[in-house]
């Protein structure tokens, strides 16, 4: 992936334009002027534009990931804002929300400003999510107002559940006045204990401490009740269990202000993968049963879960080469996202619906602009070859870390280009 500066006039020529905002797919070309959408046209192409041949390719909105971990500040050996943005871009993402569990955590207006400053000139839009509690200790709520002014778009102690229900209630009460979402990593710590994988047949056989699905679903249920009480917009991250989906479904029927996301790895793998004892499958919440996995796909089809978020979580190879109990939780996911998701969902939903899960829907969660092909909007465009089969491997990883369970997997659908913040890459 070689990143270049965008020429002043660009023609994305003869592609299949897939606009998830107006929900239409049609053949055509897009003209960009000075980094902005100028017009969509089918003929009378301008002579001076730099042409990118998009024949047999899909031109769509740049993807948006509302859940990534870029480890800066503190663990720049795992990822930096810059390497994280490269990983995002190569996966077709032009906009990401970074979680605050850095070292120190993003729990003050100053730390939010640090992220905004540091990412200003990077080729991807980076939005910090502020911590819910100071030092992510789960006790005292943060200066949310000041953090929003500085650029925070949501609040979460992700990585660590807010286990004290009263603290989470206060946080939701307070956040509700700003109209931003709260996000809780829902795993009841008492029920989860030191579980390293899903509690079920496989954990029983392998002798690992299990983390049962009710650790997630019971806390999600608590959070949904708190959201109803406070009126806050609750966004449920990385839903992994069928039982959690049932709770969310009931609340959506009551028209509650809630959204939910699922990761590519929970859509793609189940707990049987742990039989290899490969620590790249160790993640929180854990990979669950095939029934849960199929339930997640069904929840996407029914709109109960409206977006896909990678929970991109880089870790060094040294940390991941430990024994299974000691290895950290988490896997990278930006680069392999589309290829894995499209492979799993291809026979379940049409391409337009799948693209919405990566574009319009996550942008709605964070109240970002969703009508991206409107004249004058800054270009955030991703070019895809949905029919391309490829084997994911180290060559495709732009992240500083390599902890991907997708290495060696055959994926379907490849990102061929991205136009974002005045930069672009394009593979012809």
């Amino acid at each position: 992936m070689i990143l270049k500066k965008q020429p002043s006039s660009i023609l994305l020529k003869d592609g299949l334009i897939l606009d998830p905002y107006v929900k239409k797919t049609y053949k055509g070309s897009i003209l960009l002027k000075n980094g902005k959408i100028d017009k969509i046209l089918k003929q009378d192409y301008p002579q001076d534009a730099t042409v990118f041949d998009c024949k047999d390719k899909v031109i769509t909105h740049g993807f948006c990931d509302v859940h990534v971990h870029f480890r800066e500040p503190g663990r720049e050996d795992k990822e930096t804002l810059e390497t994280g943005c490269n990983a995002a871009l190569s996966g077709g993402f032009t906009r990401v929300c970074v979680m605050p569990n850095t070292d120190p955590p993003l729990d003050s207006p100053e730390s939010i400003r640090f992220i905004i400053e540091k990412s200003k000139n990077l080729p991807v839009h980076v939005h910090p999510i502020g911590a819910i509690t100071k030092s992510q200790e789960g006790r005292v709520i943060t200066e949310m107002g000041g953090m929003i002014k500085a650029g925070a778009v949501a609040f979460s102690d992700d990585g660590i559940p807010v286990s004290n229900g009263q603290v989470f209630r206060l946080a939701c009460d307070y956040a509700s006045m700003f109209g931003v979402p709260t996000i809780n990593h829902a795993e009841d710590p008492c029920i989860r204990r030191d579980g390293v994988m899903h509690e079920g047949t496989v954990s029983a056989e392998l002798g690992f401490t299990g983390n049962p699905d009710i650790a997630e679903s019971s806390m999600i249920n608590r959070d949904l009740e708190i959201s109803q009480l406070t009126g806050v917009h609750l966004h449920v991250p990385h839903v992994s269990a069928l039982k959690s989906i049932e709770h969310i479904r009931k609340r959506l029927e009551l028209n509650q202000n809630i959204t939910a996301e699922v990761t590519p790895h929970h859509l793609y793998f189940n707990h049987e993968s742990i039989r290899s004892f490969d620590t790249s499958f160790k993640v929180a919440p854990p990979l669950r049963t095939e029934k849960d996995r199929l339930g997640l796909i069904k929840a996407l089809k029914e709109g109960i879960i409206s977006c896909i978020a990678t929970d991109h979580a880089p870790h060094t190879i040294e940390e991941k080469e430990a024994d299974f109990n000691e290895a950290p939780f988490g896997m990278i996911g930006l680069e392999s996202c589309f290829g894995s998701v499209y492979k799993v969902l291809k026979n379940e939903m049409n391409l337009l619906e799948i693209i919405k899960l990566l574009t319009v829907n996550p942008r709605k969660v964070m109240s970002f602009e969703t009508d991206l092909f409107k004249k004058g909007v800054e270009a955030e465009i991703t070019i895809l070859d949905p029919n391309r089969e490829w084997i994911f491997g180290l060559d495709y990883i732009k992240s500083k870390s390599r902890n991907s369970p997708f290495i060696g997997e055959s994926l379907l659908g490849m990102v061929n280009g991205c136009f974002s913040k005045g930069n672009y890459f394009f593979l012809s």
Binding site: G200, G207, E321, D323
Partner: protein, 318 residues
């Protein structure tokens, strides 16, 4: 001789291989009865006993088996020594690999570490207990002891009593025994059993008396109070009254059950001294069979390599 290069666990392990190991163990048991208890089978082979977790019995049993087979061996115990949290499993093990060894006997507190080891090192790996996952050599010696007593494993009814949740011995025995055609029932409170036993071909009973009436033999598991870290049983007193193999209970049944225990025993908790020391118990046979079984396993996994290499040498000479 055996279809797998390593012995990592008994899940999906072929029955004919288990039978080969058992039969070979009986041959080595004869060797152990001789005045000179040593054979040259593994001369020139180097084995590392890699014990990251304290163990006296299993390590001594392996060491003795290696000495009887004339192998060269090195002991490495990880706990409290050079192995710090900072050094990865891979680093430690690759250091060992650089020393050109033929086999590693590995004991570790975390499930799957012997499997991970096979990816880092080119040597035969034998699992000497990985956390609460498997302990295949213990199950083999239990099966040797049972076959010695009953003549065959097929159709035998075995009750496994106690803390199955934390027991690698139970897991390996369940897989091994059922593969060999024995029937297994577990007896423990639900808090000491995995929540989902779907992967195990076993039945459960919460009544020890019912198990005693049914079984030909009991494998009694150690109550691993040190592993629990939380209250999984209300008290030792209550556990003993429901799941303890007490002399009173055994007298009441008056049945000549064969009693086994992988050791170390908590006398007076899961088993009474009277029972452990009675004629019914074959706990000391288990120890002797342990050496013979491990000799059989080492011989079958390593001497094959010997013959291959000598074949190659012979070819070179021609």
């Amino acid at each position: 001789m055996l279809s797998n290069r390593h012995l990592l666990g008994l899940k999906n392990y072929p029955s004919q291989d288990i039978q080969t190991i058992i039969d070979t163990a009986f041959q080595f048991k004869e060797v152990l009865d001789r005045p000179i208890k040593k054979v040259p089978s593994l001369q020139g082979q180097t084995i590392v006993n890699l014990f990251f977790e304290n163990s006296t019995r299993t390590r001594i049993s392996f060491e003795l088996a290696q000495k009887r087979l004339s192998a060269d061996m090195v002991n490495f115990s990880g706990s409290g020594s050079s192995l710090k949290k900072g050094e990865s499993l891979k680093d430690t093990v690759q250091n060992l690999a650089a020393m050109k060894i033929d086999a590693v006997i590995m004991r570790h507190s975390v499930p799957g570490t012997p499997v991970q080891l096979t990816k880092f090192i080119d040597a035969v790996v034998i699992n000497a207990g990985d956390g609460t996952h498997e302990h295949p050599t213990q199950a083999i010696l239990d099966m040797v002891s049972l076959q010695e007593k009953f003549g065959s494993l097929k159709g035998l009814k075995i009750g496994i009593v106690g803390d199955m949740l934390h027991s690698r011995v139970a897991r390996s025995n369940i897989f091994g025994l059922t593969t060999m055609g024995a029937h297994v029932k577990l007896c423990a409170p639900p808090t000491l059993l995995p929540s989902d036993l779907g992967g195990f071909p076993v039945n459960i009973s919460y009544s020890l008396d019912e198990i005693i009436d049914w079984a030909d033999s009991l494998i009694i598991l150690r109550l691993q109070l040190e592993r629990m870290g939380q209250t999984l049983i209300p008290s030792v007193r209550e556990y003993r009254s429901f799941f303890g193999v007490t002399s009173e209970r055994m007298k009441k049944h008056g049945k000549p059950l064969v009693i086994m225990h992988p050791g170390p025993m908590n006398r007076g908790i899961e088993i009474d001294s009277d029972v452990a020391d009675s004629n019914q118990a074959i706990i000391l046979n288990q120890v002797l069979n342990g050496v013979a079984s491990r000799m059989a396993i080492l011989y079958l996994l390593l001497s094959k390599k010997n013959s291959e290499e000598s074949d190659r040498d012979e070819q070179k000479l021609k």
